[in-house]
């Protein structure tokens, strides 16, 4: 669970899961309230909670259906998607 000392600044996010992350999370989307300020914070929290095997450096991240930086400042209501290594074609 997140550090409860920082619970003052929490926001709600929608998260969608794909491929291996969907399998490891056991669902395709969820809404959660967290003190994460960036996608990086958020992934670290989720990876710990659900034992995600993919290190963040192997992923990309999208916020509101666009690629985003890992240090992007999240806003309440954002939809966040972590993108495992792609394998189209």
């Amino acid at each position: 669970m997140p550090d409860s000392g920082r619970e003052l600044l929490t926001m709600k996010f929608s998260i969608e899961y794909f491929a291996l992350l969907k399998d490891q999370r056991g669902c395709s989307s969820e809404t959660l309230e967290t003190d994460a300020a960036t996608p990086r914070d958020l992934y670290v929290q989720l990876a710990e909670q659900y034992a995600f095997s993919l290190p963040p450096e192997s992923l990309k991240v999208a916020v509101n259906e666009e690629f985003a930086d890992w240090n992007h400042s999240l806003n309440a209501g954002d939809t966040v998607v972590f993108i495992p290594p792609v394998a189209g074609g």
């Binding site: 969608e16 794909f18 491929a19 291996l20 399998d23 095997s53 993919l54 290190p55 192997s58 990309k60 999208a62 259906e65 666009e66 690629f67 998607v81 993108i83 495992p84 290594p85 792609v86 394998a87 189209g88 074609g89």
Partner: protein
Amino acid sequence: MSFSISDIPVDPTALRADLLHEASGAYVSFEGWVRNHNEGQAVEALEYSAYKPLAEKEGHRIIAEAIERFGIESAACVHRIGPLSIGDIAVWVGVSSPHRGAAFDACRYIIDETKARVPIWKREHYQSGKTEWVNCHTEIKT
């Protein structure tokens, strides 16, 4: 110019017809077929999934880049999602252009960039009974 994610079989004949132009003399197409093996393992079937809204946005950008960069007439790409069998078309790219060099270069650019950038994932089902998300296994640090 179009890029789409499709959950129904790809029809190259229909897609090709959309690229016919009286001014174009060259047409190059690429198809990626589901193979019966991958890196030494016998593949029985596979499935693709995509983060569709971002996949289509990124795909459109790739097509626009190819048109801008190579001066081709038009181009399209369709990527399948869902369960596929050996021999099915997983991805199709078509390019028409006044000149063949640009058509080849653009077609290759589109498939290379699609494989590298578009959020699509492949799970392979092996004869051994195992399944695996391609490219995700070797990334695991334990």
